[in-house]
Subunit: 189 residues, 2 copies
């Protein structure tokens, strides 16, 4: 099973070989090609995914057909339509591969089962969720208080590798500006 | 100890009297008057708070002196500067009582201890964190895709009691519009 998966869990919780074998047995490897969809809009969502290779974007298409980027994911990030996964409503986002992708899927049932069976795993996901919550609160603050240039600088400082891998049109969409505005911002820096 | 606190935990996890007594022993009741601050900017934050009475707002003052509302909290909601609480950086928000307030404080150390000692409590907070994450993702989507009128309608539908209790100037600040724009929106509805 995936070394990356073990390393990821062991950043927060030590696991015996046996515990990791049990945990790993709940995850299924999936491989997708660039341009494939992992999730499409308006589907029931039963899995969350841990990315071990490649890059994806989760986006929402508004009533005017405009695309808004909810999140990116690359190696060692988790991705899904979390609202659909946790609350049972159909997905509102679609998740699209920007590169060839390898990821590990775990179903809602197995996710709840492993959290119930192993307190350490539940602890892992509580901590992950709290850090995710903090990251989203920072993004809200950033959306409320900064302009596109400041948001681009924050994104570049926080995720320099992401900026290099994501096409500029999609970075522009994430920042909520046109491709031309982003080019102007990048020339000035 | 607080019946509200017990009821709140038991919405997700059943607790024996003994378990609740242990849990409750980690919480301390605090009472604040309208206009008092629970948290001020640039402080170390060691507590999270469960509100049993009253209404508070968490806000951020930008470099131009403009106030941005991060969250509200009323009965049965949790509030803190979560970034400061979880990551140890000083607070970036201030939390201010809009009414007389009663709440229960638990420190970071006690919070981690009770999660470690009682798997059910750790489960409770994992679920709470995941629902909080989903709520913030919805707010981001709303900030990216809707105008002030739609945001006001969403807020009214989701939290009708909140709208009645929060002064209109502060609702306007939450929506990112002027007091006059909010009045215009409300007249039209």
């Amino acid at each position: 099973m995936s070394l990356e998966l073990r390393k990821h869990f062991e950043e927060l919780i030590p696991l015996t070989d046996e515990e990791f074998a049990t945990l790993a047995s709940y995850f299924n490897l999936r491989k997708l090609k660039k341009h494939q969809y992992l999730i499409q809009e308006n589907e029931p969502i039963t899995n969350i995914y841990f990315v071990t290779k490649g890059l994806l974007k989760a986006s929402y298409i508004d009533t005017h057909g405009k695309e808004h980027i909810i999140q990116f994911a690359m190696e060692n990030w988790w991705i899904s339509d979390f609202q659909a996964f946790y609350t049972g409503v159909p997905s509102v986002t679609s998740i699209h591969c920007l590169e060839d992708v390898e990821l590990y899927a775990i179903s809602r049932n197995d996710f709840e089962k492993i959290c119930l069976d192993n307190h350490k795993v539940e602890h892992f996901f509580r901590i992950k969720n709290s850090l995710g919550y903090v990251a989203l609160q920072k993004r809200i603050l950033s959306l409320l208080t900064t302009d596109a240039r400041e948001r681009f600088e924050q994104l570049s400082a926080q995720y320099p590798k992401l900026i290099q891998r994501v096409p500029k049109t999609i970075i522009a969409s994430y920042l909520g500006v046109s491709r031309e505005t982003l080019s102007r911002i990048m020339r000035k820096l």
